[in-house]
């Protein structure tokens, strides 16, 4: 058991070291943004090392296979099909700058746990590229398999921490605290992204800017953020469900991490274009003066958090629409049910009630 974890840690360190050697000093500008990709590859190597050692020790993958009960295995193909169909439909038909290709991944992560979630994302992108017939076949899905795996892993971890458990009918004070904390986290991440990736090339609200396109784009983004905050507060206080705050934070964190991992892949593979609606953003940021790497990061950090936010909300709605007993039968399903208030069991009331 210890040996497996040591092997996994060693593999992670080796990959991180090789990554630093190949990419060079992390302080240089273009390379400095690849740390998330290196870390994700390190995680993948660690997982493979863990599995290999377990196979050598026991001749099987017992502790990993134990994560996959029959119900999870049956859900996975359905989740993969949801990913592929919605992803292909959005990319080919709608031309909007989000992806919507991880609903199934996040659903499996929430219901079954981090490892099944990661495997669902990984397999979905590989199958999407190699064996799914046109018109659903993906042109550039397989290189992003590692991003999908990390998304599934994160979804599983958030659900395991109980973040997707419904918390209905909370008092307004709690909701207000939740709203403030969630908006603070989102604002913090936005500030990081803005200062790190956007300030060098253009300012959103500079009236002297030569290109009127960017004044429009800047106001558009500001309007989007305003709509997001109003929608968020409405949802939180109308539904009175504190989990809205948790789902928001989970979605935005997942989106930022996904963007940081996928941008270097996208930039080096096809110069940041993917043939979908996100290409308009890439073109806009390049017109503003960003180079290929920077424009891809700027596009990703705008598209991915919005995309993952929407996806997490869709998954949360789907989970709420599912029957309690269906949810509870999945490995992590207990964590998606409302917490039982102690002392309100039906049985006790019934016994005490007058005939």
């Amino acid at each position: 058991m210890i040996v497996r974890w040591v092997a996994a840690l060693a593999a992670f360190v080796v990959v991180a070291f090789v990554g630093i050697v190949v990419i060079g000093d992390f302080s240089t500008d273009a390379a400095g943004d690849s740390w998330a990709l290196v870390a994700a590859l390190g995680l993948l190597a660690a997982f493979i090392a863990y599995a290999l050692v377990e196979y050598l020790q026991t001749g099987g993958f017992g502790s990993i296979a134990a994560q996959f009960d029959m119900r999870t295995l049956v859900l996975m193909p359905i989740a993969i099909a949801i990913n592929i169909i919605l992803g292909a439909a959005v990319a080919n038909a709608l031309k909007i700058p989000i992806y919507l290709d991880s609903i199934g991944t996040i659903l499996v992560g929430a219901l079954a746990g981090p490892i099944p979630g990661a495997l669902t994302g990984f397999l979905a992108n590989i199958l999407w590229q190699y064996v799914i017939p046109p018109p659903f076949q993906g042109t550039v899905a397989a290189p992003f398999a590692i991003v999908a795996a990390v998304i599934g892993l994160l979804a599983g971890l958030f659900a395991r921490a109980g973040w997707l458990r419904p918390r209905p009918d909370r008092p307004a004070g709690q909701l207000a605290i939740g709203a403030v904390l969630a908006l603070a986290v989102v604002a913090g991440l936005a500030l990081y992204a803005y200062t790190r990736f956007y300030t060098e090339t253009f300012e959103f609200f500079n009236p002297d800017t030569t290109d009127p396109l960017f004044v429009v784009l800047g106001w558009l983004i500001a309007a989007l953020f305003a709509a997001f905050i109003i929608g968020f507060l409405l949802l939180l206080f109308v539904r009175r469900d504190l989990t809205v705050a948790y789902v928001t934070v989970a979605g935005v964190i997942t989106g930022v991490i996904a963007a940081l991992i996928s941008a270097p892949i996208s930039a080096n593979l096809f110069s940041g274009v993917t043939g979908s609606g996100t290409d308009f953003l890439v073109a806009a940021f390049r017109q503003a003066g960003s180079d290929i790497q920077a424009a891809t990061f700027q596009q990703g950090l705008l598209s991915d958090p919005v995309d993952k936010l929407v996806t997490f909300f869709v998954v949360y709605l789907v989970l709420n629409a599912m029957a309690r007993r269906t949810k509870a039968r999945f490995p992590q399903g207990e964590l998606l049910l409302e917490a039982e208030e102690p002392g309100t069991a039906d049985e006790g009331e019934w016994r005490g009630a007058p005939a």
Partner: protein
């Protein structure tokens, strides 16, 4: 929610073509040409190494050579060149258009002006870069499409299972391939059902957008509702029984093909090393 559950009962009933339905006939049937009859893993290795090599080599000539030698020649041998060209071009069209437009008109640091449309400038540097990306896209989509046209997904999965991939992973892969067309058919049925109840799917963009929820919702929830039945069906057939199972048929393999696969992988590794060391 329950409305979608009974519409398509089993994945087998929803496979697209009739010839795939009779499993024994389809699975054991040898392909029409020698290239089709290669082991699926050999074809998958060829496609993957070609795609990665096209990215590693870069430039214009390298990917074009790869395209000619490792995609067009095998395609002629498998007599699928026409279909390959059609499918690959159609598949790569959206990303190719994007890559050309974005790089020609929005290339950072482009100096040589070719054309000016309002604030947007086409540059020669951008055109050169766009061509590089274009041949890379063609090499990748050609290689993958060649694999796709000459290999049945089930053959690859069976072959991987024989090589020790867990039957659980094999099941997920196989079932995914079957679930995609089944779910599309379910979506079409639900769309028809909702239109019969007065849903507007043809008006303005806003109206169509509002129609997404009553279609996507039942598709997802109906599919999830099926999980229970399928789980019971598979459990009843002892799917979760431990130990290896006997495969009735596996695609043929040969030592020469194994050698070819290792040679391809070794060649790719050598290419990457040469590239990293700057020798290329």
């Amino acid at each position: 929610m329950a409305g979608g559950a009974g519409l398509t009962s089993t994945p087998a009933a929803a496979t697209p073509s009739a010839e795939d339905r009779g499993l024994p006939e389809s699975i054991g049937r040898p392909g029409p040409t020698a290239y089709h009859r290669l082991n699926p893993l050999t074809k998958a290795t060829l496609a993957t190494t070609t795609a990665i090599a096209a990215v590693v080599i870069g430039g214009l000539i390298g990917p074009l050579l790869l395209l000619a030698v490792l995609v067009v020649v095998p395609a002629v041998a498998a007599s699928v060149l026409g279909r390959l060209a059609r499918t690959a071009l159609l598949l790569a069209l959206p990303i190719a258009i994007s890559a050309v437009l974005v790089n020609v008109f929005f290339f950072p640091g482009g100096q040589t002006e070719l054309l000016r449309i309002g604030p947007v400038v086409a540059t020669a540097e951008g055109l050169a870069f766009a061509l590089e990306i274009l041949v890379r896209i063609m090499a990748i989509s050609g290689a993958i499409t060649l694999f796709y046209l000459t290999t049945r997904p089930a053959d690859l999965v069976v072959d991987l299972e024989r090589r020790g991939v867990s039957p659980r992973v094999a099941f997920v892969a196989n079932a995914s391939v079957q679930t995609v067309p089944a779910m599309v058919e379910r979506a079409a049925q639900i769309t028809d059902a909702q239109r019969a109840r007065g849903l507007d799917t043809e008006g303005s963009v806003w109206r169509r957008a509002r129609g997404i929820v009553p279609i996507v919702g039942p598709v997802i929830l109906g599919s999830i509702a099926e999980v229970e039945e399928r789980t019971l069906a598979l459990e009843a057939r002892a799917f979760s029984r431990p130990g290896r199972r006997t495969l009735l048929w596996t695609p043929p393999d040969s030592p020469a093909q194994a050698l070819l696969r290792w040679a391809l992988v070794a060649g790719l590794v050598a290419l990457i090393v040469a590239r990293v060391l700057g020798a290329l």
